[in-house]
């Protein structure tokens, strides 16, 4: 009798090698585990890249900021001097026109007028048109742009006026501030009129000549 050969079906997946469903479950779990591991690896790498980029950016940004700060301290005014001991900033020399705080013309006029108003009030002067009238004792001064007139004794009817010009030679400051300077100086030292009239050069507020002007 011929042997009958029975062909067995070829299994299509590892799970079908056996009736044991456990094998199939293990294969599926392995597949999911590998996918998740790849996902985790990619996510971890991306996270690492972002972290490194952030750290690098942080360092570069700090370095740039520090450099800007140092340049800012060194550059803005050539006369700046920092006196850490007293916490003050000093600007040496008489030239401030090259500073970074250059004001617009209307701002300059505004500042100058504000100072003039304050000094007119401080000295008790009065304004009549473009002339400022200042009384110091019995002497009366009439101050206007680059001119000052003196009446030595305001109560003497025969007293005559004397007149001279003035200017601030150490820098071109607004006319209002020149007038303000003259009002302050005359209020404190009315005798300043004499050296001005004598044209001996620049005179300090205390009456001393100033040679360098």
């Amino acid at each position: 009798m011929a042997n009958r050969v029975r062909a067995l079906p070829i299994p299509r997946s590892p799970a079908e090698f056996s009736n044991d469903g456990y094998l199939g479950l293990v294969a599926k779990d392995n597949y999911h585990f590998r996918g998740r591991a790849i996902y985790m690896m990619v996510a971890g790498t991306v996270y690492l890249f972002v972290l490194v980029a952030f750290i690098v950016w942080r360092f570069v940004f700090e370095a740039l900021r520090h450099r800007q700060l140092v340049q800012g301290m060194a550059a803005p005014r050539r006369e700046n001097r920092f006196l850490g001991r007293v916490g003050v900033i000093a600007i040496e020399g008489g030239h401030f026109d090259d500073g970074s705080q250059r004001a617009a013309p209307f701002e300059v006029t505004g500042h100058a007028q504000t100072y003039l108003s304050r000094i007119v009030a401080l000295t008790g002067a009065t304004q009549s048109g473009s002339t400022f009238i200042l009384d110091v004792g019995t002497t009366r001064f009439y101050v206007r742009d680059r001119h000052v007139k003196r009446l030595r004794n305001v109560i003497d009817p025969i007293c005559e006026y004397e007149e001279t010009c003035f200017n601030v030679p150490t820098g071109s400051i607004p006319a209002a501030e020149q007038i303000a300077s003259v009002l302050l100086a005359l209020k404190n030292n009315p005798a300043l009129f004499d050296p001005w009239a004598a044209q001996i050069g620049a005179v300090k507020a205390n009456g001393q000549e100033f040679g360098d002007a």
Binding site: I89, F96, F166, T170, A202, N206
Partner: protein, 72 residues
């Protein structure tokens, strides 16, 4: 509030010094003012009273350095 030492300038005004009057070394402040006066001839005036001052003290909050004036 900080105290200021100012002067008239082409820009209207310029701050020469700014300091905390409570903690600043006033000797140092006056030394800088003296140095500035030696260079420019400007002398300090108290902007609260309008008086010329010899030395700046902690009481002054605003001091104006007035430059020399020439006649002509």
């Amino acid at each position: 509030m900080n105290a200021r030492i100012v002067t008239f300038s082409r820009q209207g005004d310029s701050t020469l010094l700014e300091y905390d009057p409570e903690t600043a070394d006033m000797e140092e402040v006056n030394r800088v003012i003296a140095e500035y006066e030696a260079k420019t001839g400007a002398q300090p005036f108290d902007m609260a009273t309008g008086q010329r001052i010899e030395k700046v003290t902690r009481e002054q909050n605003e001091v104006l350095m007035v430059h020399p004036i020439a006649g002509g």
